[in-house]
């Protein structure tokens, strides 16, 4: 347990200090949300329809952007070897790393989605449920992302590869999340999102740990 907590806080500190803290993924998110209306032009009704789903795409891409180095740095600087030597199973340490990512990147993103959704013409009263759905969805993204990041950790320019590997797994949360954002079947979609999140958080660390053991060879 001590090892899990130590890993969690260390990763929170690393995520915070590297790359401009929580500000940077947030900036990425906001940037993507801003690019979309630029590309689509000023048509209000179009934005209102296309906007909230886009916030989801932007959130998915923001998570993607922070996945690349998650394990690659550990592999290169020898930290992974040390994690393998801990008495605590690697699965638990990977889970701790995922939780840290969720705290430092996921949480601010979900709360930034509020203003973003409003800017993209979502109705005000739907903002809280959008935030909740993003919290769940980001957990699902991170669960799937752990696997992609672990599998591609040994690859030099892995960022793009990770994206290719995990994007298919991002599809279900995005579909359900967008339906929340659009106000359709909110309860059912939230339940399905929670299912995705649980699935990702439980299976993700196992698959990721298996891949990391191979990477250490």
């Amino acid at each position: 347990m001590k090892a899990i907590i130590a890993t969690f806080w260390r990763d929170v500190a690393l995520l915070w200090s590297g790359g401009g803290g929580a500000l940077a993924p947030l900036g990425y998110f906001i940037g993507a949300v801003v690019l979309a209306p630029l590309a689509m032009g000023p048509d209000r009704t179009l934005l209102a329809a296309a906007g909230p789903p886009l916030a989801w795409v932007a959130a998915a891409l923001a998570v993607l952007a922070s996945l690349e180095k998650l394990f690659q740095a550990d592999l290169e600087d020898g930290s992974l070897d040390q994690m393998l030597l801990s008495d605590t199973p690697l699965e638990a340490l990977v889970f701790a790393k995922g939780a840290a990512l969720w705290l430092v990147v996921g949480l601010p993103l979900a709360f930034a989605a509020g203003p973003a959704a409003i800017a993209l013409q979502a109705p005000l009263e739907r903002v809280p449920v959008i935030i909740v759905s993003l919290l769940l969805g980001l957990a699902a993204f991170i669960g799937a992302g752990l696997v992609g990041a672990a599998v591609a950790a040994g690859v030099k320019r892995g960022g793009v590869l990770i994206a290719l590997l995990v994007l298919p797994f991002f599809a279900p949360p995005i579909i359900f999340g967008a339906s929340v954002a659009a106000g359709q079947d909110i309860d059912a979609a939230l339940a399905l999102l929670a299912g995705c999140a649980l699935f990702g958080c439980v299976l993700g660390p196992f698959a990721a740990a298996a891949a990391l053991r191979l990477q250490a060879e």
Partner: protein, 242 residues
């Protein structure tokens, strides 16, 4: 069987004839299937002649799912028992499966244009199939990117198993979501509902695709074994010196 073939030397001697034999079989079945499908089978009452795309589209769709399932099985064997030949089998199957998936997507689009009035629609079946194609691409990219072959195979096996969730989604998508795509009429509980005059050439073509898959996969595996032998020899030669 798996245990027997796990040894590369035995695999090589046991399969020397398999690839050419299945290649010939595939050619035969393609000739029969194309003849029956394109010339001897009836046009359909609603779709007319375009229905003939079916003989290309449907087997490609089936086998893109089938090949992925095979890969998942091989991946499982590879991860649990560390069989080198299971690695090779999964890796050999991937490009073939990706091609089948691409054929399914392309012929489906071509078929969709006259029948549904659109090339593409973001419905459950089409989307999940596209995701399957992307999963294939991801698998291939991963195998290409990791340069240690054995490690690449194991890592790709993990990815392959994770991606297997999509297979039932592709198959059942027509039931779970209301879609443009028609529900299963052949592979369904309670037997096929398709007319025999179409079923025969369809199954012939399915057999042809399968034979082609076996021939190509075995040929690919044999080539890999040969390549490894050459590389091992080269590395042994590099053994001298610091």
């Amino acid at each position: 069987m798996i245990n027997f073939l796990a040894n590369p030397a035995r695999f090589m001697s046991a399969t020397a004839w398999v690839a050419p034999a299945f290649g010939v079989l595939a050619a035969l079945l393609f000739v029969i299937g194309v003849r029956d499908g394109l010339f001897h089978s009836p046009a359909e009452q609603f779709q007319g002649e375009t229905v003939r795309i079916m003989y290309v589209h449907v087997p490609a769709a089936w086998w893109s799912l089938g090949v992925y399932t095979f890969m998942a099985g091989a991946s499982f064997v590879s991860l649990v028992w560390r069989h080198a030949m299971a690695d090779l089998a999964a890796r050999a199957a991937a490009p073939i499966g990706a091609t089948f998936a691409a054929i399914c997507l392309i012929t489906g689009s071509i078929w969709g244009a006259p029948t549904w009035g659109t090339w593409w629609e973001w419905d459950g079946r089409l989307t999940s199939m596209l995701i399957l194609f992307l999963t294939y691409l991801g698998y291939l990219a991963l195998v290409a990117a990791v340069d240690d072959e054995e490690k690449a195979s194991r890592l790709a096996a993990i990815l392959c198993l994770a991606g297997f969730v999509n297979i039932p989604i592709v198959h059942f998508s027509v039931e779970w979501w209301s879609t443009l795509h028609q529900p299963a009429s052949v592979l369904r509980p309670g037997g096929s509902s398709i007319d025999a005059s179409m079923r025969a050439p369809l199954f012939t073509m399915a057999g042809a695709y399968f034979s082609l898959f076996v021939a190509l996969a075995i040929a690919h595996m044999r080539a890999s074994v040969h390549r490894r032998r050459v590389e091992a020899a080269r590395l042994r030669a590099a053994g001298a010196g610091p």
